[in-house]
């Protein structure tokens, strides 16, 4: 139905652009990761695997990488714990005000990321709202310091930011659960819990996977929340990348860490895509 000329016209411009501004840059990143910096701070093009070796040998990088993965797991778990029941409530129990309630989850997404980061800083700081409140009620007598500048603060802030991201695909998948299957399950005598466990939960698994992937990957790549509320004990892998590209000036090592993250994300995407296919009813 469509001529060759038409197909060429729609294909070539985005293909050329994406190659130039995405494929080539990722390839450059890959090349950089094998280069090194000389003592005169010049990048030398002698190909070697030193950067990757350093990533796994240097305890600093490895500890931070593990911490980032732990934080990402915690945020993913919490986002699902908050997002799933909310999505379930909206999909099955919010009858009249469903659209309004849905919009209420979306609205925080329109608030700037940075603004929400600062808000948590205001709340958790030693002269912050939470400490002020606790002293006002005479629960504590001096500021609790560990609220801010800790992995806990990073997890809290990122859970707040990424819960809507986890909610969206879960809600979409719950909306697609055929209601007659649920009725059939009830009619056949299954308890509500059994219906949830054996009908609704398996059918919403693609949404859970998509939501978990979003929360995990976005948390893993985050460098602002650690900067704002993390302190030195809440540093994550992206902060190291940022410093390697800035003050520490070791682009090749930064590139190697970035490429590992890229690889991790792409692997995760492939894995969830395959799992989603397995659990999607056709």
């Amino acid at each position: 139905m469509y001529s060759r000329a038409y197909k060429a016209t729609i294909t070539m411009p985005p293909l050329v652009w994406v190659t130039a501004f995405l494929l080539v840059p990722y390839a450059i990143l890959f090349c950089y990761s094998f280069w090194s910096v000389s003592s005169l701070q010049v990048i030398t093009h002698n190909w070697n695997l030193q950067n990757y070796a350093q990533l796994f040998r240097n305890p600093l990088y490895f500890t931070v990488l593990l911490r980032s993965i732990r934080i990402a797991c915690a945020v993913t778990g919490l986002a699902l714990l908050l997002g799933y029941p909310l999505a379930y409530y909206l999909s099955f129990h919010a009858t009249k005000r469903k659209d309004l309630l849905y919009q209420l989850v979306i609205i925080p997404l329109w608030t700037s990321y940075l603004v929400r980061g600062y808000a948590w800083k205001t709340i958790l700081g030693s002269t912050g709202v939470l400490n002020g409140f606790l002293q006002y009620l005479h629960i504590t007598h001096k500021p609790v310091e560990f609220f801010l500048y800790s992995p806990f603060a990073v997890i809290l802030t990122l859970t707040h930011i990424y819960t809507p991201f986890a909610f969206l695909p879960i809600y979409a998948s719950l909306e697609h659960v055929p209601r007659n299957l649920i009725e059939a399950s009830h009619d056949l005598g299954a308890s509500p819990l059994a219906t949830f466990r054996r009908v609704i939960l398996p059918l919403s698994l693609p949404g859970i996977l998509a939501g978990a992937t979003f929360a995990f990957v976005l948390t893993l790549g985050d460098f602002l929340a650690p900067l704002l509320v993390g302190g030195s004990s809440g540093i994550m892998i992206s902060n190291i990348v940022v410093s390697l590209f800035g003050a520490a000036y070791n682009w090749p090592l930064g590139a190697a860490i970035s490429f590992c993250m890229l690889l991790l994300v792409v692997t995760l995407l492939f894995a969830t895509e395959r799992l989603e296919k397995r659990y999607t009813i056709s």
Partner: protein, 222 residues
């Protein structure tokens, strides 16, 4: 049918949902309340209501300069990503070419890949080309990263579109360009507007890509 299905509201779940909403809105409410606070940020209870902060906000010239720059970057980023996202969505929908699967993954990758990786990959490209970092590099970065959003939205619109109209137009002798202009584009209007709004907002709030490509011109989130 769905009406007969459990219209009752389990109180435990309702309460839980309320708590989640409270969690989502708590920081935003705190920030709004403390923006009127006389003694600056922090402390409890807030004391001395004032509009001083807002007066400072509106008289800060550097800040408004940054706002203007952000708006310009966002507008151009919308133009770039729609101009490339539209053909990309059309190509994914109706053209077959070698490397199509890779092309699809590549276009959509910035949607999920942490912005820091896309940002510094582009930084290496621009530095390699000898380009100076400026608002132009930021705009190119935003435009490129957000093609993913444009493509997803428009592709969804194309999936819902009825092909019959296009076929009829072509059968009746209109060429591809006319068909595109009179049939395809009007049918995609809603998707295009939705994509533009989304891209505009995402560009305003984009930090990671901006961080690496900005040089010395500051936009709003920074």
């Amino acid at each position: 049918m769905s009406g007969t299905f459990r219209s009752s509201r389990p109180p435990l779940l309702t309460g839980y949902a309320l708590l989640v909403y409270a969690f989502l809105y708590f920081p935003i409410v705190v920030l709004v309340v403390y923006s009127f606070n006389g003694s600056g940020v922090g402390g409890f209870p807030p004391s001395g209501w004032t509009l001083d902060w807002y007066r400072q906000l509106f008289s800060d010239a550097a800040l408004w300069d940054a706002v203007l720059k952000s708006l310009i970057v966002a507008a151009v980023a919308v133009a770039i990503s729609l101009a490339l996202g539209l053909p990309a969505a059309l190509a994914l929908d109706r053209a077959q070419f070698p490397g199509k699967a890779l092309f699809r993954r590549l276009v959509l990758l910035p949607l999920i890949l942490p912005g820091i990786i896309t940002g510094l990959s582009l930084l290496m490209l621009f530095v390699g080309l000898g380009m100076k970092l400026s608002l132009i590099t930021v705009t190119l970065g935003h435009g490129t990263a957000l093609i993913s959003v444009a493509t997803t939205e428009i592709f969804a619109g194309l999936q819902k579109m009825d092909r019959v109209q296009e076929e009829a137009s072509l059968d009746l002798g209109a060429n591809h360009w006319k068909t595109f202009w009179h049939i395809t584009l009007p049918n995609l209007q809603v998707s295009l507007i939705a994509a533009a709004l989304l891209i505009f907002t995402l560009s305003l709030d984009e930090i990671a890509v901006t961080f690496f490509l900005i040089g010395r011109d500051n936009t709003l989130p920074l």
